[in-house]
């Protein structure tokens, strides 16, 4: 068995005539927290959707636990997805179900466990994210950070081998951010899972990631451990990591000459 639970080989993907990924190679070793970083619109979330089999690559392949994702039929993809848990950007909690029922949802849908056991398991998962006391609350009664934690409890409900996080820190206050950050690392280690984090929050991601890929212009612009990347002199990585206003990613959207545009008569 290979040490990498997810492997991306020479992957290209595009739509509407625009190539988003141009021959990307990535590996995600078992038990590690690997981050995919890059600017908005660089195709980070699309990579998660490719791993989850929600879309098919134009070229190349994605392998999960040795199986080529896009070659699976519907049942095959569902079988692979049972090994995955995913935390969506805004939680994607089912708004008509309570926190408890949200976490219980995959257990009730995908297993034949008795209700008494489901109750215990749900409370254990909610306890792991610190929200056992909030099990009766509806999603509308939860703060953004709490909703993200309930969604995290739901993502780990069936103890997946791979946990994918889509922008887990977006829109959270510093305390919630710290809590989510700690949970990602501790749950990954406790479950012996592999975590794939898609984010552009450098500080938090570097704190917990074992390895980081930087995606820009459809290719891997840089990769390495957080320490390596902090020291990197590559202009793109330097601009991204230190948040410089201008650099390889320009401040201005491409436009005609400023002076001539102002002087142009209507």
């Amino acid at each position: 068995m290979t040490d990498n639970i997810v492997e991306i080989d020479n992957l290209s993907f595009g739509y509407k005539g625009r190539l988003l990924h141009k021959g990307i190679n990535m590996v995600f070793p078992r038990g590690k927290v690997v981050a995919i970083m890059g600017g908005s619109g660089s195709g980070k979330t699309t990579l998660l959707r490719l791993i989850g089999g929600q879309i098919k690559p134009s070229k190349g392949e994605v392998r999960v636990a040795g199986e080529v994702v896009h070659k699976q039929d519907r049942d095959g993809i569902y079988k692979l997805r049972r090994k995955m848990g995913m935390l969506f950007q805004h939680g994607a909690l089912f708004t008509d179900l309570s926190a408890f029922d949200n976490v219980a949802f995959p257990m009730r849908e995908l297993t034949d466990l008795p209700e008494t056991m489901i109750r215990d398991l749900v409370l254990m998962k909610l306890n792991a994210v610190g929200l056992r006391g909030a099990h009766a609350l509806m999603p509308t009664e939860l703060s953004g950070g709490m909703a993200r934690r309930v969604a995290l409890a739901r993502a780990i409900a069936l103890d997946p081998a791979i946990i994918m996080y889509d922008e887990p820190f977006a829109g959270l206050d510093p305390i919630s951010m710290g809590v989510i950050c700690g949970l990602i690392r501790s749950l990954n280690d406790a479950l012996g899972a592999t975590s794939i984090i898609v984010s552009h929050d450098v500080k938090e991601t570097f704190l917990i990631a074992d390895y980081v890929y930087f995606v820009a212009d459809g290719v891997i612009a840089a990769e390495g451990t957080p320490n390596d990347l902090m020291q990197s002199t590559l202009p793109f990585v330097h601009q991204f990591v230190h948040g410089d206003k201008d650099g390889p990613v320009p401040f201005h959207y491409p436009a005609a000459n400023y002076q001539s545009e102002l002087l142009k008569t209507l």
């Binding site: 569902y78 997805r81 969506f88 994607a92 708004t95 949802f105 995959p106 849908e109």
Partner: protein, 268 residues
């Protein structure tokens, strides 16, 4: 120069018409595909019938008030208008038959379907559209749970079950409304009202045909609402447009289908 401008404008118009036609055909195909997938994945709706029952409550029970109140007024107006015409020919006792046949054959199924599209159809579209916008459907997919089996099919069968029940209630309450206007208010003979109705309303030709219509409208209205929600662009504007389309397309479909079904029922 003018000739080429004219040619360009014609080409643009034709291209626009062609584009819209292709888009409509594509949507029709996608709708048919969703319908067949819903039928294929319907097993879950019956195996776990509580999922369907829950939706019967939201689509059927929650539509009761609007259906009953509308039926009452429709029945009363029918009796008033019918009496006004019938008395000119000295057959005001036939008012019961007129009210009953109008309701059971046409108004019951059609008006119920129009009200259903406005009340329950829009709710279904908005709910599924928002589930899509907030990634709830994607989350379900990623959990290896089929959204068509879990979300679409129970709502579909709930609509199909609710519609004939609502249409029957509409007809019953409408007849009651007609009775209240015709008998206590206008003074038509009580016995004539009911006996003429009993003698002239045929169980198979009128009541069963009316029920068949309401089942067909139930399938059409619910499927349109589900497809529009499922196909809505995941934005606030997309969901709002989809909700509007549900009402417009459902209403036109119901009226068109009513003509087709009535024609067949007349021949058969």
């Amino acid at each position: 120069m003018i000739k080429s401008k004219l040619l360009n404008s014609i080409t643009r118009t034709l291209r626009g018409v062609g584009h819209r036609m292709v888009e409509r055909i594509w949507r029709l195909g996608a709708g048919a595909r969703l319908f067949f997938l819903t039928i294929i994945y319907s097993g879950e709706s019956f195996k776990r019938f509580h999922l369907t029952l829950r939706e019967v409550y939201f689509t059927g029970v929650m539509s009761l008030l609007i259906v009953i109140v509308s039926a009452f007024f429709v029945g009363m107006v029918l009796a008033l208008q019918g009496y006004n015409t019938l008395q000119k020919y000295g057959s005001s006792e036939a008012i019961g038959v007129l009210v009953a046949l109008s309701l059971v054959r046409e108004l019951g199924p059609v008006v119920t379907a129009l009200l259903f599209a406005g009340r329950a159809g829009t709710a279904i579209t908005a709910e599924i559209g928002l589930m899509k916008t907030t990634e709830q459907l994607s989350a379900m997919e990623m959990m290896a749970v089929n959204p068509i089996a879990r979300v679409v099919a129970p709502r579909f069968w709930a609509g199909v079950i609710s519609m004939p029940i609502l249409a029957s209630l509409f007809s019953m309450v409408g007849i009651l409304g007609g009775y209240l206007v015709a008998v206590p208010l206008i003074g038509v003979d009580d016995g004539a009202f009911w006996s003429q109705m009993q003698a002239n309303v045929d169980f198979r030709l009128d009541i069963i045909n009316g029920l068949i219509k309401s089942v067909v409208f139930g399938v059409a209205c619910t499927m349109i609402a589900l497809f529009e929600g499922f196909d809505a662009p995941p934005t606030a504007e997309g969901v709002s447009r989809a909700t509007t389309r549900t009402v417009v397309i459902s209403s036109l479909t119901v009226l068109g289908l009513d003509f087709v079904l009535t024609s067949f029922m007349m021949v058969i």
